[in-house]
């Protein structure tokens, strides 16, 4: 196992290929572009295919076709590009296709898009939010595993910092978990047998007429309930005696962790809860970590989105206040002045002192 210095985009692409991903289609857009570049360079080397699609609509459609044949496949973009893919995302969830989506967002303003989705009907995606490149590698491989296990799309929510920060990482190539058989995939072999497949989002069966949506949708809902029960992931630090717990995800959590450790050195009773799965949201773990705290401070780089899930977890047992806010660079790529250790520390200090923190 060699440790190599790689930016997040390259490391996650290496991790995806090591996990068996053999198809990728995407459309360039900052800060996702390098994910596409690395797939384009590396997939042909392993006999895979990367297509520069003419739009995000077609990119997700191509991944749909590759997944239908049983291949591990992925697409990705920024929140803007993912907005175009929403119809396919919701329909692919109902067709139970194990899609992996690399979302290199322009900041954290796409939390609602990632966790609620903009597609039609009842559907859910697992959303994984890595804090750093090392975790980006691990969560990329987990994403393919979860997608196959649940036959459900999984999104990796990263950002400019994750995609472009270079870190020394190891790409695990062995010890990949055994893949579940894909007897649902289409290979053409059952044509004329009376048992040919119809991989569809409507629960349609061959040999029958019409559709019966209600039992099909209820079965999917039961699956999503089961995912919500079993797949929450959360990281907590120094919460046992905390007066204030900071809740943050992704790159913002990396800054929060640094500030929390500095403030702890000064004797401040402050802890950190970092949801790793944004859906399913780690409601129980968060509620437990925040038991008895004076204040819950939500540090997110947006106008207030994850704070809804935090409040639904705390249920009024403590005040839940925003200490983040909209913060952008001039180009709108999501690397605003909030990403500054002093800035983040002062926001958390304000929460400790019971001050209102201006966004």
């Amino acid at each position: 196992m060699t440790r190599r210095l790689m930016e997040g985009s390259e490391a996650m692409v290496e991790a995806a290929i090591a996990a068996g991903c053999r198809f990728f289609a995407g459309y360039p857009m900052t800060p996702f572009t390098e994910v596409l570049e690395h797939f384009a360079a590396k997939l042909p080397e392993v006999g895979g295919v990367c297509i520069n699609a003419e739009s995000e609509l077609e990119a997700v459609g191509m991944a749909w076709g590759a997944l239908a044949t049983g291949a591990r496949a992925a697409t990705g973009s920024t929140g803007q590009g993912l907005a175009l893919m929403q119809e396919s995302f919701s329909e692919m969830t109902r067709a139970e296709l194990p899609l992996v989506v690399f979302h290199m967002a322009r900041g954290q303003g796409d939390y609602f898009q990632a966790t609620r989705g903009g597609g039609h009907g009842d559907y859910r995606h697992i959303v994984l939010a890595p804090e750093n490149v090392h975790e980006g590698v691990a969560l990329t491989q987990l994403a393919f595993e979860l997608a196959d296990r649940w036959r459900n799309p999984v999104q990796i929510y990263g950002d400019y910092l994750l995609a472009h920060t270079a870190e020394a990482v190891v790409i695990p190539t062995s010890d990949q978990p055994e893949r579940p058989p894909k007897d649902w995939a289409v290979d053409g072999s059952l044509g004329g047998s009376g048992r040919s497949r119809n991989l569809n989002p409507l629960g349609m069966e061959k040999g029958t007429k019409g559709i019966e949506p209600e039992p099909f949708w209820k079965r999917l809902q039961a699956k999503h309930d089961e995912i919500a029960k079993t797949e929450t992931r959360c990281d907590t630090e120094s919460t046992d005696d905390a007066d204030v717990v900071v809740v943050a995800f992704g790159s913002m959590a990396r800054f929060a962790r640094h500030a929390v450790r500095e403030l702890r050195k000064d004797g401040a009773r402050v802890g950190l809860v970092r949801p790793i799965t944004l859906w399913p949201f780690p409601t129980d773990a968060l509620a437990e970590a925040c038991e008895g705290v004076k204040r819950v401070a939500v540090l997110e780089q947006n106008g207030g989105q994850m704070i809804d899930d935090v409040r639904l977890s705390i249920l009024g047992r403590a005040p839940v206040d925003p200490i983040g806010g909209i913060s952008s660079d001039a180009a709108g790529f999501g690397i605003g002045p909030i990403f500054n250790p002093d800035n983040v520390r002062e926001r958390i200090r304000g929460a400790l002192e019971g001050r209102e923190v201006a966004a």
């Binding site: 003419e54 459609g61 239908a68």
Partner: protein, 291 residues
């Protein structure tokens, strides 16, 4: 092949005397043969009387079987009336979103290059909602076959204007007829696709009469064969009757197709490898006196 229904029809026409229709039949009607293709699980469907789509689907299934591709085919199905056949076509299928079948077919073909991959789409699906998909798939030279069932209307919603509706054609949202100044012009999708470098075969057939059915079946065969040769993109447009969506009596469907749609979307081969023909040239050859 003896079970080819077209052969059965031709044989019976040449051997049977002309049946008088101005008097009661001399003997009760009896079934002359079974026309259900082997790759159709059952004959139940909800499509309207006089619809041309089942004929086109029958031809497609027959060709797949005759080419020995029944166990090697993956169909990607768009959304329209023809989608009802996904539960009865005995071929591995993937249901796509409206307009998105060509990209889904692309992903499937890239992962399974030896499979016969086709799309089945209507004019609303392919030429309205998914026009960029089919054009880029052709331009990339993907070795897939896109099949367009073109009836010039959104049949499933009840007869609304599509991108192939011809000038003057009445639809529910061009009730006085399609007006070029107000609604714009129809798209001749076959010409657009034929001129692209990635396209090796493009043709437009029709199922409004027996000759058209035979020619269309040959077009489907050539398209699938060119895919199996691996040369690039192939395309067959099939004009189909939609008397319900055209607001004409069922029996007038074939004639309306020939006189209205067929007078603009002329039938014939548009591209066969190096040979490129335009719809305008086909019209000049087949309808020299004009539409």
């Amino acid at each position: 092949m003896s079970r080819d229904p077209l052969r059965v029809i031709q044989t019976s026409v040449t051997q049977s005397p002309v049946i008088k229709t101005d008097q009661p039949p001399s003997e009760p009607a009896k079934q002359k043969g079974r026309f259900r293709p082997a790759l159709l699980l059952h004959e139940d469907h909800d499509l309207c009387p006089g619809c041309g789509e089942p004929i086109a689907i029958r031809l497609m299934l027959e060709v797949i079987e005759e080419l020995g591709q029944a166990q090697n085919s993956i169909g990607v199905i768009g959304i329209g009336c023809y989608t009802a056949f996904t539960s009865s076509m005995d071929v591995d299928l993937v249901q796509a979103l409206h307009g998105r079948a060509p990209s889904v077919a692309t992903g499937a073909k890239r992962m399974r290059p030896d499979s016969l991959i086709f799309t089945l789409q209507g004019d609303g699906d392919m030429v309205n909602e998914g026009l960029q998909e089919v054009i880029h798939t052709a331009a990339r030279g993907e070795s897939v076959t896109c099949i367009l069932l073109n009836n010039g209307v959104f049949g499933e919603t009840g007869g609304h204007m599509t991108a192939t509706t011809v000038l003057g054609q009445r639809t529910k949202n061009s009730i006085e007829g399609r007006d070029a100044d107000y609604h714009g012009y129809p798209i001749l999708i076959g010409d657009l696709l034929a001129q692209l470098g990635g396209t090796v075969y493009a043709a437009r057939g029709s199922v409004h009469d027996a000759a058209g059915v035979v020619k269309t079946k040959n077009m489907l065969r050539r398209a699938f064969e060119s895919q199996l040769e691996g040369g690039g993109f192939s395309f067959v447009e099939i004009l189909t009757m939609c008397p319900t969506g055209w607001f004409v009596p069922t029996a007038e469907g074939p004639g309306y197709l020939d006189n209205v749609l067929g007078a603009v979307h002329a039938t014939g081969e548009l591209k066969n490898h190096e040979r490129l023909v335009t719809t305008a040239q086909l019209l000049a050859e087949t309808r020299p006196s004009g539409p």
